[in-house]
């Protein structure tokens, strides 16, 4: 059972990396509540599929291809939202780049630049276009996807951790800058979630129960999340119920970081 947000009716939401996983779940949930959704993804097939799923269910959605590392793509995605649906109310900046495990000394300059490009600079780029569009229509809400690794360390993930910590800092700072214009900006920190990445890892693990159980046991609640369990908090943070939540970080990790 999912929450009901009547205030989303007729609003416009854009969700990045909405071709799969958390982004797809969020796009579908926005549309189910009556929002018109701009589905963006770097992959046109999966992105279009999300838009089609929404339309088949009676919702309104359009796909727009967007590589979040390209400022032009982010600018055009926002322009597309405004031209197709008249305005932009909500943005869930969900896209990110996962990282293989590379100890800091072994990470190349290109690797670091790419991580920062997608996981940090892309948030600046997306928000710099989203915020003016939201101001134009009187306000809005942005949710940025950080990570539990902004809060705790993991072997071989120092660069990734740094990029995701930067998302929190940028979220907080932008919230201060644009709070007076009625734009609320918050971050969520997802933990272990059943996305394509995790499914690939599980394929490698096969039916090694000991390894699967070890992944589950990293959480206090002894399981990984379904994508909808991350999408729902993102929707809540956009909703009127979160009207006093500004510059905050919501950890959604089944208790991964609390011990």
């Amino acid at each position: 059972m999912t929450a009901i947000y009547p205030e989303f009716e007729g609003k416009t939401a854009m969700v990045s990396a909405a071709g799969d996983g958390i982004g797809r779940a969020a796009a579908i949930a926005f549309a189910r509540n009556g929002a018109r959704v701009v589905v963006t993804d770097i992959n046109p097939q999966s992105g279009q599929e999300t838009a089609d799923l929404i339309k088949e269910a009676g919702g309104t959605a359009l796909f727009f291809r967007c590589d979040v590392a390209e400022d032009t793509d982010n600018r055009e995605a926002v322009a597309f939202a405004v031209s197709e649906f008249g305005k932009l109310n909500y943005a869930f900046n969900n896209a990110g780049l996962t990282s293989p495990r590379i100890p800091l000394v072994e990470a190349s300059g290109e690797f670091v630049d790419r991580q920062i490009g997608v996981n940090t600079k892309a948030f600046w780029s997306a928000m710099r276009h989203q915020i003016p569009a939201m101001i134009d229509q009187g306000g809005g809400a942005i949710v940025n996807s950080s990570s539990i690794l902004a809060h705790v360390g993991l072997a071989g993930k120092s660069i990734y951790s740094a990029t995701k910590a930067a998302v929190i800092g940028m979220t907080r700072g932008a919230a201060i800058d644009y709070g007076p214009q009625n734009i609320r900006i918050n971050a969520i920190c997802p933990g272990t979630t059943e996305t394509a990445m995790l499914r690939n890892r599980m394929k490698e693990i096969g039916d090694d129960d000991a390894q699967l159980n070890a992944i589950r046991a990293q959480q206090v609640i002894n399981r990984w999340a379904q994508p909808s369990e991350l999408a729902e908090p993102a929707l809540f943070l956009c909703s009127d119920g979160a009207s006093y939540i500004v510059g905050a970080t919501l950890i959604v990790d089944g208790g991964y970081t609390i011990r």
Binding site: N222, D240, V246
Partner: protein, 258 residues
């Protein structure tokens, strides 16, 4: 407005529900179909909350509870079980505030009161609630911490310490009772238009500059209405928060962002 259809038929306890954030949360739980045990130390205020809920077509019953007392928590939880058949959600909202006093000047009596209500009382409450929720197969608890668990304010060291304990205790309890399918989280509410803040609001009622200063502590340049704190509490109890446990959510209009 019904946001959380899964609340229909569920049972919630809200402490300090005779006013402010607690009353707003009790009303919101009831509006979403939950049966609410309204608890407060002020019987008249608590009964008024029940009247408000009943007038709106909701289900609630009042139970006196001094949150410093273990026996009162035991009785409140037993009341929820006998009256409504169990306990699903608890919002431990009641707390003690103290006048501004630097730590070294804090009288022992004030220290003991703050700790008795905000720390010891919370442990007592959760102990009773977790047992009942475990019997039910799961549940969700939200504890009212404070922005002062995260940032300092002159003359509030002891209060801040007690609210820091609320965050830490929520985290620890979440670890303990995760396997029992009970989620425990804290919210850190900022400046809210409640009775607790009334002395300040009265003091600055005819001082526009001071009002502006209090507003300007928030990025959003205003204080909150109680409903704006109650809504996140309900969300944390809802199925949408099924993967959120042991965390602390700041609901402060950006107070702690800078």
């Amino acid at each position: 407005m019904i946001r959380y259809p899964e609340f229909v038929g569920k049972v919630a306890i809200v402490t300090g529900a005779g006013s402010g954030i607690g009353r707003a949360a009790a009303c919101a739980f009831a509006r979403n179909g939950a049966q609410v045990v309204v608890s407060d130390i002020d019987d008249e205020a608590g009964a008024e909350t029940v009247r408000l809920i009943e007038a709106a077509g909701g289900e609630a019953a009042y139970r006196h509870c001094d949150v410093a007392l273990l026996a009162d928590h035991q009785a409140a939880v037993a009341f929820a079980e006998s009256r409504y058949g169990g306990l699903d959600f608890a919002f431990n909202n009641a707390g003690a505030v103290a006048p501004k006093v630097p730590l070294a000047a804090t009288p022992e009596q004030m220290f003991d009161l703050i700790i008795a209500v905000n720390v010891r009382g919370l442990a007592a409450a959760m102990g009773c609630q977790i047992a009942a929720m475990t019997a039910r197969g799961g549940g969700a608890i939200v504890n009212n911490a404070s922005t002062l668990a995260h940032v300092g304010l002159a003359g509030r060291a002891v209060y801040a310490g007690s609210k820091g304990s609320v965050v830490a205790m929520s985290r620890g309890a979440a670890v303990d009772c995760g396997p029992a399918n009970i989620r425990v989280n804290a919210i850190s509410a900022g400046t809210t238009d409640t009775g607790e803040m009334r002395p300040l609001f009265d003091e600055i009622a005819d001082k526009p500059e001071r009002q502006a200063a209090v507003r300007a502590m928030q990025v959003v340049n205003r204080w909150a209405q109680p409903e704006e704190i109650a809504e996140p509490v309900l969300f944390l109890c809802s199925e949408g928060a099924s993967y959120i446990t042991g965390t602390s959510l700041a609901v402060d209009g950006g107070f702690t962002s800078r």
